[in-house]
Amino acid sequence: MQIEVTEVLWFEQHELSLPELAELSGLPMTLAEELLDCGAIAPLELRRARADLRFGSAALRAARAARRLRSDFELDLQALVLALGLLERVADLEAQLRELRARQPQPIL
């Protein structure tokens, strides 16, 4: 079997337009727009015309989670926004916990 070496892209360095975000996440464009209006998906810079908005990795992550949650739990927009908000808070808390654990010296045995 032929083995090829593939280069990877940093998720963190993506800058996507809203249609690209919708395509990569598999969300319908209208739903991506609604999630943007509700603040569940945030652009990198707010003060721009909608057509010029750019989205980063956090938005792509949220959009992909939205697509999964919507299809797997049959969530409507309200429930989706709520779930995404809670997931974001969980992720923030987990990151804080990870940092605190790293900063915490291990007990000496």
Partner: protein, 314 residues
């Protein structure tokens, strides 16, 4: 093709009603969905549940599934000849196919005559654990994936894909990488799916990572902490000399700038050595005498603040 018992996956009898199927799925999805579950193996378990639900929730697919008969899970079987004619949109080779592929592409009745629509390939997301050393230097991962694909003749197959992904230095815990076009093949001109790698760092005996910063416990003897010293500290990039100033307290973070993990574009995280003051568990007579003398001569009172704080309280 290996048989899967979709009813058992959802914990149901074959006679279960549509409502039962939905309820069982909701209950199990709540428990095992990878976005909300922390159970080990949740992802695999959820895939199994979702696959079963996709087929059983649809009355036509469920009927097609029921007509495959009941076999032991994992047992090799062939769909009956008339089954293919009745349900399958396109020819398939049952040998190297997964049961889920069969039902994902099953369009009983109406779909069969419809024009072939272009469909994007499926995105895949997999978790990979790398060591701190691999994150520091960059690494190459061997990936082995099995994906459903159509061959040139339009027959559906499960095709193994083995390839190497070069992970550049700069990856860290919780980071994701995208391999464009490495997911499932697009259909009728649809774009190929992407492969996402979710990176996690394996626990390391010395370092703890957060972002691109590393933390390391630095044990010091009491006299080293009091008098100050220079110690050799391991870092992923090699040993460095660290000056410990006199009077260094336990818990202090001594920062080694740019000795943490490299960042993707430029720059590097820091390494923090956290001072721990450790005491020997066994001492000889000469050492004991020295500690005795120190105890007598020293005017140091580590608990002086107890008295003043307790005084304030009264």
């Amino acid at each position: 093709m290996k048989y899967k018992d979709y009813y058992a996956s959802l914990g149901l009898e074959r006679s279960a009603s549509e409502e039962d199927v939905k309820k069982a799925y909701r209950r199990l999805a709540r428990k095992y969905h990878p976005d909300v579950s922390k159970e080990t193996g949740a992802e695999e378990k959820f895939k199994e549940i979702a696959e079963a639900y996709q087929t059983l929730k649809d009355p036509e697919k469920r009927a097609a599934y029921d007509q495959l008969g009941s076999h032991a899970p994992g047992q090799d079987f062939q769909p009956p000849p008339d089954w293919r004619q009745q349900y399958s949109e396109s020819p398939f080779s049952a040998e190297d196919l997964d049961l889920s592929d069969l039902f994902a592409h099953l369009h009983a009745g109406a779909g069969r005559s419809g024009a072939r629509r272009s469909r994007p390939g499926q995105d895949f997301e997999i978790a990979v654990a790398i060591t701190i050393e691999q994150a520091f230097q960059g690494t190459q991962l061997d990936l082995d994936l099995n994906m459903p694909e159509y061959d040139a003749a339009g027959r559906l197959h499960r095709t193994p894909h083995a390839f190497k992904a070069r992970i550049p230095k700069g990856a860290t815990d919780g980071q994701r990488l995208r391999l464009p076009g490495k997911g499932g093949k697009g259909l009728n001109g649809g774009r190929d799916g992407d492969l996402y790698l979710n990176i996690s760092l394996r626990p390391h005996p010395l370092y703890r990572a957060t972002g691109h910063d590393l933390y390391l416990d630095l044990p010091l003897a009491p006299w080293e902490a009091v008098l100050g010293t220079a110690v050799e500290v391991p870092t992923p990039g090699g040993v460095v000399r660290l000056k410990v100033p006199p009077g260094t307290q336990a818990g202090r973070h001594l920062r080694l700038p740019n000795r943490g993990l490299p960042k993707p574009k430029e720059g590097q995280g820091d390494l923090y050595a956290i001072v721990q003051i450790v005491v020997p568990s066994v001492i000889g007579d000469a050492e004991r005498d020295l500690y005795q003398k120190l105890s007598t001569d020293s005017g140091f009172d580590p608990r002086a603040h107890f008295a003043t704080e307790a005084g304030h309280a009264n």
